[in-house]
Symmetry: C2
Subunit: 198 residues, 2 copies
């Protein structure tokens, strides 16, 4: 069990963590590069999880204008429309959601806000060469430096993304050979491993 | 980091764990007892998470016949219909899903299969008197005794359920005052805390 000082440091560090849910470039089940569709569900579930763990910003990244329009309409409904009055908790969760056209755009936004580029850490269901253990990332959270966690939709982040990130988190090990977690569940588990307390 | 022997014991113990997603009796946001609607989403997401962590059985409990019919149709589509051919991984996840009319019916089924009543452990976003820490539940997993974990839909399990369970898991602490996780996310996080390995 980690000590209380580290607890406070991690809690403090959560606001320096950003999440990006990547809809392009990702791969389909035969490994082709595709762009996936934004879902209302991923938007809501991941926003609620990110807000629970004190994450600073949750970016939905998609290059498609019609998908960006959809995201904008959902956010507006909950931020300034009827949704926010009906369910203030949902309004609060969605207040950390932003839209970006690409991973580069997310990195640029973070650099403008924090004065330096974020350490970019990918998540994957496969083992990578540049793996960084969960406790090492946890240690980084106390350092007051921006961290961007990338989550892939569809069948995961494209190789061109994996090849340029600083680190990759280890796959989630459930003790079985079944390896098909929903990305929403992966985000919840990884947030808890990095920012949660028992 | 727990030792390898304990790892194997917990992995072995996962098949003795059952999950029930309770749709009645639960409470609404003003605390009234209600029955909630079954969602396709909870069925799929929780089945995939449960299968990832080697959970023995996932019960959707609802007393409503129309909802039971819906569950039966979804399971059939993925077990014997087109779904299973199209996506065998989903078929495998849904193979652990069952339907039950009530929590009592789930307990009775487990008792018939294991020869003894399960230890029933509720989950809640609030602190309870009979809290059992995650590491204590983890220890129980090696004992080869059936455990039933109850998750509430809507705004959580009704007091009449909370009052009769053996233990309650601590609320998930994300280091903030925001307390509105989707039940799907709560299941993922709790499975990882009880059955996951870094």
């Amino acid at each position: 069990m980690p000590c209380k000082i580290l607890t406070d440091m991690v809690t403090l560090g959560a606001k320096n963590v950003s999440i990006a849910l990547v809809h392009h470039p990702v791969v389909n089940k035969v490994g082709e590069i595709i762009g996936s569709a934004v879902t209302n569900l991923d938007l809501h579930d991941i926003a609620r999880v990110a807000r629970t763990y004190g994450v600073g910003q949750y970016y939905l990244t998609t290059p498609y204008e019609d998908q960006q329009k959809l995201i904008g309409e959902i956010i507006a409904h909950w931020q300034t429309g009827h949704g926010g009055t009906y369910n203030p908790a949902r309004k609060e969760a969605l207040s950390i959601v932003s839209m970006a056209g690409s991973i580069d755009a997310v990195i640029e936004t973070i650099e403008q806000q924090h004065g330096r580029k974020p350490t970019v850490i990918a998540t994957s269901a496969k083992v990578s060469e540049n793996t960084l253990a969960y406790d090492k990332v946890r240690e980084k959270l106390g350092l007051n430096e921006p961290i961007l966690l990338l989550f892939g939709t569809a069948h995961g982040l494209a190789p061109e993304v994996m090849n340029r990130v600083d680190f990759v988190l280890p796959p989630i090990d459930g003790g079985t050979d079944y390896n098909h977690l929903p990305v929403r569940a992966a985000v919840a588990i990884i947030m808890d491993r990095l920012l949660g307390w028992e």
